[in-house]
Amino acid sequence: MKDTEGYVTADGRQIGGQLMELKNITLKFGGVTAISDISFDIHEGEIRAIIGPNGAGKSSMLNIISGFYTPTEGELWYKGAKRPPMKPFEVARMGVARTFQNIALFEGMTVLDNVMTGRLTHMNAGIGAQALWWGKARDEEMENREKVERVIDFLEIQNIRKTPVGRLPYGLKKRVELARALAAEPSILLLDEPMAGMNVEEKEDMSRFILDVNDEFGTTICLIEHDMGVVMDLSDRVVVMDYGKKIGDGPPDEVRNNQDVIDAYLGVPH
């Protein structure tokens, strides 16, 4: 039974059909079961949050989606087809982009170059053309530069585009990382704790950017976040994980009143 129908969110946005479906995913590291038998789906155009206490397996889940881990059991369906085990770079080329919990920018490069790396998957001029900076290589460089500039504009980082990333403060680095992921024009954008370690103002900025990205580009977003206020405000549907199991799934209001979820967060003994 394939759910191709969309739904309408509380604030009246039409959400598309299923973009990704995870079926009975289990992930084991030796004897440790990080994720056991979790199924959920991500619809086109929605903001999907994964929440849960520390060590619940949220990041592992994201790593499975981005191809960094291969699930021990279970299937991952993407754009209507079952995804075979593949390398992370192949997954990225299929339109999955992500940011990291600990910033993973290329410190030795400028902001512009960092964001340009996000376009790598869209560039394919041969080494000969690149060596001569001629023909396709140069045209491609200019075309992609323009796309990157649009993202830079969008995220309001024009003034630092030529600054080496190593010199930037934390909040801006997070934004550059988002820019790099956005530059890839992904079908699905994975955000691993986009607001970790930020002050209120930076969180507000970041929330605004996430909503704008979703709104303007129609990008599907799947995010992990600890700040409950942010999660409940931003997301259309929430998956709650605890000890590698799914304990809740649904719109924020429904999840908020779920007894299992309340127990998990308040720490009821198991």
Binding site: F89, L105, T117, A137
Partner: protein
């Protein structure tokens, strides 16, 4: 003041990404090229050609090759000299097997062989990084030098075990061998070095360069944004070894005139690594500055006591040289770990905003 950029506006991304966004850089380069192509050849003596101009260019090229691998792609290599050897021996074999071959084409083509060998020895880089990879490339260093010694076919079974550069000409002008004049050889080297430098600049500022730098800075993130690490590392090994191989062929054919296996031993690898480090890892221009320092300094140190009339034994000068170069390396690593290129970058930044501090 000379470097003021006020009034130089960019109206397109193309202009912003041009090779010289600042006009003064282009002027400076034009002056340097004028010196290299016109003034030096007109004024240099045989001694200057043989001890400074030609070796500086060749060492710069070898360091540039190493820099692509270590500075841009982040893969440490200690086998540079051996890859130079592959280029030199490949060139020698091509020239002796096919005497009709254009020597310049032979030199450019010899890099293809070293690129192949480089890729083969680069395969371990897919699994190991850092110091461990350096040890793996060290294996290439020892194995290849051993091969140059033991595989008699490489030096055409001659009794000395060394390769001797024959007289080679293009349209009647000797470019290699005892009959070639220094100025011709200088121009050949300069032409090839210029060509390969332009190629390297283009590669490093384009897509491939960003792929390499991403691999260097954070390989996991690189893979997750869609970079095929295997391809990225192996192209770096290929391009790097190609350039190093061409430098090796030039080293023997345009400068030394003859070579035996131990010429390509580990001291040469280290010398080139020093040039790359002192010049600045991850910089194209740094290699030239580093080579000028490492090749030029000993010559200078030899000349100074002589011109001042101080009687010093040549052995003492030799030792002094080692001490001074050694302490300079330590000095640079502490004061400016990013090398001479970074020093120039800082000076330039200051010059652009001079006389204001910010």
């Amino acid at each position: 003041m000379l470097y003021r950029t006020a009034g130089q506006f960019k109206t397109s991304y193309q202009a912003d990404q041009a090779l010289f966004p600042v006009r003064q850089d282009a002027v400076l380069l034009a002056v340097i090229l004028a010196f290299a192509y016109v003034i030096f050849p007109l004024t240099a003596s045989e001694f200057t050609f043989q001890t400074l101009l030609i070796p500086i260019l060749i060492y710069s090229l070898a360091a540039l090759g190493l820099n692509i691998l270590t500075g841009f792609a982040g893969q440490l290599s200690l086998g540079t000299a051996a890859f130079m050897g592959v280029g030199a021996y490949a060139c020698y074999k091509m020239i002796t097997l096919m005497p009709w071959m254009n020597p310049i084409l032979a030199i450019l083509f010899s890099g293809v062989f070293s690129a192949g060998v480089g890729v083969a020895f680069g395969i371990p880089s897919l699994r190991i990084k850092g110091f461990y990879l350096a040890i793996a490339t060290l294996a290439a260093q020892f194995f290849l030098v051993w091969l140059f010694e033991k595989w008699a076919w490489l030096y055409n079974y001659n009794a000395s075990g060394a390769i001797q550069v024959p007289n080679l000409d293009i349209f009647g002008i000797y470019v290699a061998g005892p009959l070639a004049s220094s100025i011709t050889q200088y121009y050949v080297v300069l032409g090839i070095v210029t060509l390969l430098t332009v190629i390297c600049i283009n590669l490093t500022r384009g897509n491939l360069g960003r792929t390499w730098k991403a691999t260097r800075d954070m390989d996991i993130a690189a893979e997750l944004i869609g970079i095929n690490l295997m391809k990225s590392k192996l192209t770096a090994f290929a391009v790097s070894s190609y350039i190093v191989g061409v430098a090796g062929a030039l080293f023997v054919f345009m400068w030394r005139g003859a070579a035996e296996p131990n010429l390509f031993d580990i001291p040469l690898s280290f010398q080139i690594l020093f040039i790359a480090i002192i010049g600045g890892l991850g910089s194209v221009m740094g290699n030239y500055l580093g080579a000028i320092l490492i090749v030029g300094l000993p010559v200078l140190l030899n000349l100074v006591p002589e011109t001042l009339g101080i009687p010093i034994k040549s052995a003492t000068v030799e030792h002094l040289n080692i001490m001074i170069v050694g302490s300079l390396i330590v000095f640079f690593l502490i004061v400016e770990p990013h090398g001479l290129a970074q020093l120039w970058r800082l000076i330039r930044e200051k010059l652009i905003i001079w006389p204001f501090p910010h």
